[in-house]
């Protein structure tokens, strides 16, 4: 059980770690399909690669980090910590913040290195994706006690999962395919593709989670059965196809399909951790007896594969004088550590009061996975330096007491 706790804590810490990602996307709340240029385009839309924009992403100086959850904000935290005693109303307030479970999540793309060579780019990044969710009923039991007769806990509301992997990605783009359609009215349609070699660092997956608590005159039945699969060192691949076009002046649209054939096969030290605790018909009068059976074990397992399901991204970008706006829609096809089947929109805008001073804002509406968020960024764009900082506030327009999470980002690259 200690090992499971350790892994859970590790995953939680991972969520807090400052990390490198394509930090330029954060101020736009991820609406970056049509904005990515240079080496970053291999992760967003390689069709954008072109010899007119060359850059070199500086390692270490591209940082982003933060944490968010779906329920609690700073105001709630301060309220909780300022109370000597929680009243029934206070407890109801805490519980009302959670829908069905309390979720923590991070999904980060850490770009370690990137460089363009004409229509080609080579980049490497580390991806850290982790999330944890805990059933609302756990908190209900802590706050109110076991007032209900039955509690059921399933994997849907209780799991910790994490994935750390590094990629080496080569992308190519700027291939105009419109001439093949032989339609003179067609604007240029550029396509691109990238392929990645994935080097798995570590993975943890909740394989099975069943929890029940039953308490009535017939005794107390308790069952907690958790299987957690872990792997260290894996190898895999994925591919990304992108397309973009500018059907109208200043308006460009695009689409990408990421994670094509994505998988990581874990070939290193793979283990299954099993923790089981069960008791049946327990009565306080029998507590002298050995009423709980507990199994805490781990064993090595063979190679296994973590699939990275495809994710479709649609985007549009429009620029007018000193302002540009973008909108993306992201739809995953399956739940995984890095994708969600629940689609979401994100919007970004940039205002250039000075050509060297971009001010950025982004908005991502909430969905079942994640609360809504606003992002802000400011940068300096002086050739050959391109730098910026950004912040994202979850469930609050600006970072404040209502924020359920913040992400910070800083980027630095040289373009030439």
């Amino acid at each position: 059980m200690k090992k499971i706790y350790f892994i859970g804590i590790f995953l939680a810490v991972v969520c807090l770690l400052p990390s490198l990602q394509t930090a330029t996307s954060l101020p736009f709340s991820g609406s970056y399909l049509m904005r990515a240029q240079g080496a970053e385009a291999v992760y967003w839309n390689p069709a954008s690669l072109n010899s007119n924009y060359k850059n070199f992403v500086i390692p270490v100086l591209n940082l982003t980090g933060g944490i968010f959850n779906n329920a609690f904000d700073l105001d709630t935290y301060n309220f909780f910590c300022s109370r000597d005693t929680l009243s029934e109303k206070d407890k109801a307030r805490l519980l009302s913040k959670i829908d069905s479970n309390l979720r923590f999540k991070t999904d980060e793309n850490i770009m370690l290195f990137g460089m363009t060579f004409g229509n080609l780019a080579l980049a490497s990044g580390t991806h850290i994706a982790a999330h944890g969710r805990f059933d609302k009923d756990y908190l209900r039991i802590i706050l109110y006690g076991n007032e209900e007769t039955d509690y059921f806990f399933t994997k849907e509301d209780n799991q910790v999962e994490g994935l750390v992997y590094q990629d080496i990605t080569l992308g190519a783009g700027n291939w105009n395919i419109s001439p093949y359609f032989k339609l003179p009215v067609l604007p240029a349609i550029k396509v691109g593709a990238s392929a990645s070699i994935l080097i798995g660092g570590a993975v943890a997956e909740t394989d099975k989670f069943i929890g029940t608590l039953h308490s009535d005159f017939d005794g107390m039945q308790l069952k907690q059965d958790v299987y957690l699969r872990t792997g260290i060192l894996g190898i895999g691949t994925k591919a990304l196809l992108g397309v973009e076009s500018e059907p109208l002046p200043n308006l460009s649209v695009g689409m990408s399909l990421d994670n094509i054939g994505g998988f990581i096969k874990w070939v290193g030290e793979n283990k299954m951790y099993h923790y089981n605790v069960e008791s049946d018909s327990v009565f306080a009068a029998d507590l002298e007896e050995d009423f709980v059976t507990e199994v805490d074990s781990s064993w090595s397992i063979g190679n296994f594969t973590t699939k990275i399901p495809p994710e479709l991204r649609l985007g549009a970008y429009y620029s007018f004088r000193k302002i540009n706006v973008s909108a993306d829609y992201v739809q995953g096809f399956k739940a995984s550590q890095v994708t969600s089947p629940i689609g979401y929109f994100c919007f970004g805008a940039e205002f250039l009061p000075l050509p060297v001073l971009p001010l950025q804002i982004g908005y991502r509406p909430g969905n079942k996975d994640q609360p809504w968020s606003f992002s802000y960024g400011i940068g300096i764009r002086v050739k050959p330096v391109n730098l910026g900082i950004g912040i994202q506030s979850v469930s609050s327009i600006i970072p404040g007491y209502k924020t359920r999470g913040v992400n910070f980002a800083g980027n630095f690259s040289i373009h030439y």
Binding site: L74, Y77, N78, F80, C81, S82, R83, D84, T85, L86, D90, K91, I142, L143, Y144, G145, N146, E147, S215, D216, F217, D218, G219, M220, S281, V282, F283, A284, A285, P353, L354, L357, L359, Y376, I378, I389, I391, I398, P399, G400, Y401
Partner: protein, 500 residues
């Protein structure tokens, strides 16, 4: 214009890094309701059966108390053979035979055989002529262990002398012929002419002869009992004797008779309760209660069963002390049957007072005199003081027994407290349990914060009071699988959670 943009940008920066107060982590306290199943038990009446005091008989519970009894050791059986001195004239040269009449011929014991353990026969040769050469008297009925008859010889001594009869056998072993007279052979030799009187022989027995074994006809003989063995003290739960009445009872006496004579049991069974009430059951003298001899088909085993109003009267006073009084067995032999008694074998037996659990409950209260001490550890005291707000004990009870009542628990910190519902220093909790309920009865006992304080003392004392519902008639306690009390308890604790 550019300054505006700069100010705007700085504002954005301020927004991004605006400070928010983040309080130090402090865990508040709160209250939770914990439901803890306590017990789920079925208490079957049949579980009472221990084959010692509680037995099952046709689904009914039989309660019994039993004691052993044993006759006093017989020691030796005294039989008076000669109650008057006898004499015989000694005639020279005459071999005469004669007999002395045995007094026992008229007595309650008429022997055909016996083993003498103690006794003497006195004789006196008197007036003997000097010419007497020899004189002897031979009793054929007395033989020593070699089979030689008892011979009394003249050896020129006069005056009373004795012969010790210990170890002599009287009569023929296994004989069914009752010995009514003591035959003798008299031999006298002298130098005087034949038929001349040469002296006189006197015979007497100063007391009874004691036998360790007798065979013959015994028509009256008292076998005394060791009464102390038959005393039984009965303990009832405090006050229960006031609250219940036993409706019927049966006394069973099993007797092992080692003798080949039937007997009758005499005496009375005496009972007394703590209130001084007494009741006596006189064991009836009737051939219906004859104790069989060992030599008939019963092998000496007899079961006497007494029941009826008198027995019920004895049991209904709920005696705390029972004893056999003035008890003895008397040989009953109206047909003058031959039999044997051996002092090495004792009449013994058991007596069993059995009563089916057919009871009538009155509405009197039962309260044990002693309180139960509950020790509460320091840890638990701290826990109760700091974390427990109130406690609900929710009970769901199915009572399939025909007995119900009000149960009251009294708690106090005084070990010598007297239960009093009006004493505010006492914690009193009461619940009623109805009889013969097929639906679960919900009983909810609540302890609020003030009442819980009682249990923050190192020692708490509890006393129990039960007031049965009046059954208005006898009820039978049976022991089928449907006769049980099912108790399910759930403890609901409102606990205060705080950082320790």
């Amino acid at each position: 214009m550019k300054a505006k943009y700069l100010i705007f940008s700085l504002l954005i920066l301020c927004l991004m890094f605006c400070g928010c107060e983040i309080k130090n982590f402090n865990l508040p306290s709160w209250n939770v309701n914990l439901k803890v199943p306590l017990i789920n038990e079925h208490y079957y009446v049949s579980d009472l059966v221990d084959s010692v005091n509680f037995f099952m008989e046709n689904d009914s519970i039989i309660v019994q108390a039993s004691g052993d009894f044993e006759a006093n050791p017989l020691n030796n059986i005294p039989v008076v053979l000669l109650d008057e001195p006898e004499d015989a004239t000694l005639l020279s040269g005459i071999e005469a035979t004669g007999s002395f009449s045995l007094s026992q011929a008229q007595d309650s014991i008429r022997l055909s055989y016996g083993v003498i353990s103690q006794g003497e026969i006195d004789f006196n040769f008197s007036g003997m002529s000097p010419e007497v050469i020899s004189a002897s008297l031979v009793f054929q009925e007395f033989r020593d262990n070699t089979g030689a008859p008892l011979t009394i010889s003249y050896n020129n001594l006069t005056g009373w002398r004795s012969v010790n009869l210990e170890g002599y056998y009287f009569g023929q072993e296994g004989s069914d012929n009752v010995i009514n007279q003591l035959d003798y052979d008299l031999h006298v030799t002298s130098s005087l002419p034949i038929g001349t009187p040469v002296g006189n022989l006197e015979i007497r027995m100063g007391g009874p002869v004691y036998f360790s074994l007798i065979r013959g006809i015994v028509t009256s003989y008292k076998i005394l009992m060791n009464n102390s063995l038959a005393n039984v003290d009965v303990e009832y739960p405090e006050g229960v004797s006031d609250a219940i009445q036993i409706k019927s009872a049966k006394i069973t006496i099993d007797v092992h008779n080692p003798y080949s004579f039937a007997c009758l049991m005499n005496g009375q069974i005496y009972g007394r309760n703590d209130d001084g009430e007494e009741a006596v059951y006189n064991i009836p003298q009737s051939e219906a209660y004859l104790i069989h001899p060992v030599n008939d088909a019963s092998g000496g085993f007899t079961r006497l069963i007494f029941e009826g109003t008198e027995v019920n009267n004895l049991v209904q006073i709920m005696p705390t002390h029972v004893e056999l009084r003035e008890a003895f067995f008397s040989v009953y032999n109206p047909n003058h049957q031959i039999g044997e008694m051996n002092i090495h074998e004792l009449l013994n037996g058991t007596y069993i007072v059995r009563t089916p659990l057919v009871l009538e409950f009155t509405d009197k209260e039962i309260m044990p005199a002693d309180s139960t001490e509950i020790e509460i550890s320091d840890d638990n005291i701290d826990l109760i003081e700091e974390n427990i707000n109130d406690v609900h004990l929710m009970m769901s009870i199915v009572n399939r027994l025909p007995i119900g009542g009000q149960i009251t628990l009294f708690f106090s910190t005084d070990p010598n407290f007297r239960p009093d519902v009006n004493d505010p220093s006492q914690l009193v909790k009461s619940a009623h349990l109805s009889a013969l309920t097929y639906q679960e009865q919900e009983i909810d006992l609540n302890l609020d914060k003030n009442e819980i304080k009682m249990f923050t003392h190192p020692y708490v004392y509890m006393r129990l009071k039960i007031k049965f519902d009046n059954t208005n008639g006898p009820v039978s306690i049976t022991a089928t699988p449907e006769d049980y009390i099912g108790i399910r308890c759930m403890l609901q604790v409102n606990a205060h959670i705080e950082e320790s």
